[in-house]
Amino acid sequence: MNDMIKLTIDGLEVEVPQGATVLDAARKANVRIPTLCFLEEINEIGACRMCVVETGARTLQAACVLPATQSMVVKTNTRRVRHARKTVLELILSNHDKKCLSCIRSQNCELQRLALELEVTDDNAFTGERIEYPLDDLSPSIVRDNNKCINCRRCVSTCYTTQAVGVIGPIDRGFETSIETAWDTPLSETACIGCGQCINACPVGALREKEESPKVWKLLHDPDKIVVVQTAPAVRAALGEEFGLPMGTNVTGKMVAALRRLGFDQVFDTDFTADLTIMEEATELIGRIKNQGVLPMITSCSPGWVNYCETFYPDFIPNLSSCKSPHEMMGAVIKSYYAEKAHILPKDIAVVSVMPCTAKKIEAGREELAANGYPDVDAVITTRELARMIRSNGINFLNLKDEDFDNLLGDSTGAAAIFGATGGVMEAALRTAYEIITGETLQALDFHAVRGLEAVKEADVKLGSLSLKVAVAHGTANAKTLLDSIRAGEKTYDFIEIMGCPGGCVNGGGQPIVSAEERLRHDPRIYRAKALYAADAGMTYRKSHENPGIKRIYEEFLGEPNSHKAHQLLHTHYTPRNKYKYREKSVS
């Protein structure tokens, strides 16, 4: 059944396998068809009608959902097609706020780009009523601005399909159709986990992170504050894209230099506390195994996942590792260990986290994450926000000379570097757990079974005499599949890594946005992860427990992993959450 389908597109012959769409065939023939609502494998609903082509059928057909058939003759650039596409685009513009000058997505907006490409000369070709929507900005993570929404539903499918959350969808009909939450409550009162995957899916500026850069500017301009910044492993693998560098360029040195230019007093590396997390988490895992604790233990460093677990799978809360996520550990350590060393009062320190993630914004506001009487982290900005700050400060990023992190909390290992990719935390933990358990040096450091983009990865790992069943899931829909199989008793594991975003933090909701079309050529999950694995391979130390700074902090300050002090500073607890938060309110 591997019959190939032959068709012609604009006179070019092309062969595609069964099941391919006309859009696939066009790509193969190097014919570009504009798209808007299409997001491969996630949103293939043929809604926007930008991609219409002529096939001889009575009406034009949407190439993105049209199966290619034998001997089909497709025309993509006739007068009829061009006229139709332009009209469709002009109709979208007639119900769009068109405030490009103040729009966060300007120059990275699929709608704006199409308007230029299709030679729209009058963005008021069709005028008429526009509905004004209020801004939904109550969530600490996500801002929804329906005045820019083009109803493509890429966010809806992402939230539903890849995240298995499903808190946004179309309501009303016809011209009044808009993307809303159930009962039109603010997103903050739904079961939204703040993952930000909807933002990355949105072709326009209708979804964005709740910006904290204004707060960060204020802190930087406050003479009484020592402002300390930390950057997550995945940020350095993607920040360069914002400045035109190819996907997968590692820009650690320039990033550190830029942060100093921005005026941060100390630039620390969340990789350091990723190593610290491994020390704590590997020890916790061994403890659970030895003491018949709750298994499987599940990682807790992804706040999108933690929110999901608390809301949808509260029965798995006892399985969550009690470890705080690395940037929260860093905040706690900065306001204790660093504060002591630098003779600064914790109250005078502000910790800013640069994260690939929007859920970390919700996380930073959790009351229980305040080990020293102050929030561990004071502000969280995304990779995109950092890029905007760098640009607005007039820093010529590409010409910066590489600089190193500040010493005290700046050392890291290859194990920490790979935290940003799915499977990375598992791999890092296994490297350390192996050596703790066996007391021997691990020779084969790469655990290939847990790398890559398979939905759920499983492996049997031997740590000396101990054999562990492990699993890795990324994207909460895959987490759901995994947890359901455990709930149903079909599977048992000892240790599980879950990251809320598909591909892990490299593809977090705060990372540079990659257009639907570019995703087809360069999957950010693959390219950015490569940068991290390359960094790992090139590091002097590749196991968390070898990190000299980590050895120092245990010697000088924490004692040993899972010590009382470590627990007080580095561990946390979780609370079941209602899916319908507005109900909590109306009841109380």
Binding site: I45, G46, A47, C48, R49, M50, V52, T59, L60, A62, V65, L66, P67, R80, H83, A84, T87, V88, L91, I92, S94, N95, F126, G128, E129, I150, N151, G169, P170, D172, R173, G174, F175, E176, T177
Partner: protein, 447 residues
Amino acid sequence: MRPRDVIKTLKDSGLRGRGGGGFPTGIKWELCAKSPGEKKYVICNADEGDPGAFMDRSVLEGDPHALLEAMALCGYAVGSDEGYIYVRAEYPIAVKRLEIAIRQAREYGLIGQNILGTDFSFDLHIRLGAGAFVCGEETALMTSIEGNRGEPRPKPPFPAVHGLYGKPSNINNVETFANVPQIILNGAAWFKGMGTKRSPGTKVFALGGKINNTGLVEVPMGTPLRTVIYDVGGGIPKGKKFKAVQTGGPSGGCIPASLLDVPIEYDSLVEIGSMMGSGGMIVLDEDNCMVDIARFFLDFTVDESCGKCTPCRVGTRRMLEILNRIVSGHGQEGDIEKLEQLAESIMDTALCGLGQTAPNPVLSTIRYFRDEYDAHIRDKHCPSHHCKELLHLEITDKCRGCTACARVCPAGAITGESRGQHVIDTEKCIKCNSCIEKCRFDAIIKV
């Protein structure tokens, strides 16, 4: 009869879908029968969303067993053991009678396991629609049965391949199904003996509007429109002049007097810019403004658009806005061209039949009644004196000064001495026409 004999009879009969598209029913069943798959569904479209139509309802209420029999036959022919009837919740009596009929048929062993002792089994469920017009569109209907927001899906893949729950499905209209048992009973030749070559059989229409005999009428296909309107329908009331007949429901077109001799057939109606639709037929007389009629029908489809695809969601709304401004006297030169341009793109790009046909009433009225559009736009005048904002009332010198009009006017717009000429203050007049009706001397006219 083997399944393929059922299909052959149906193909030979030339029966075409009565739900609107006129697709040959035998071929549809054959496609579904040939489509690979263990599980298949038979669906009856009883959503009947066209405003004013009740052809399907009459069958559902009057002879539900005809439908059940046809669906079981369909199940037998295509290889399906399960059917759904999707009926609008606004038809409570139809639903009740269907439920009774299904119960009776089960009791008699006419549906259920091993029908009449054979190894053929077929059972039925009823699903209620919430009255959205678009849920009559077959893919939206299936999406709705699946429990999702009633929105169409792109075709292809067609229901015969990928239908309800992704399984091969055959969907037909109530009236289509109702023809099937008779065809199987009496043979294809009997059926072809009625109607025309391209459209055999009869068709039920819901006749309404400015016509003496309103209600359901059943005529052989090929009957000229004139016969239906003047013979069956008894002509136009009050001696008014016929202006047009709108067929095909809200997305059909308006047919002018000059084309009244066109035979009613699927293809001939499409050729003249209208369509058969499910059988709505609304007669319009000289008092109807054709621009306003177009506006009225478009208003319906704009309201009923599901909002999934851009051209229908935004485009039909923009067309409606233009029509609204034309009927209110704010039309501009170029509006007709803009309407045509939008219509062309919407028909060409909309995802489903609703959007693809929504511009029909506008295009057909532009085609046959362009002068009315011009009068509204250029002269700010409604030739039928229908559009209120373009209407002015005047009292001519026939006025005898009886004061009847001044006394009836709710707006106090009429002044004049007793026995003297009365005048209307057009600023105050709310165009309620009470004065015209009151005046015994026909002194008040619309201009």
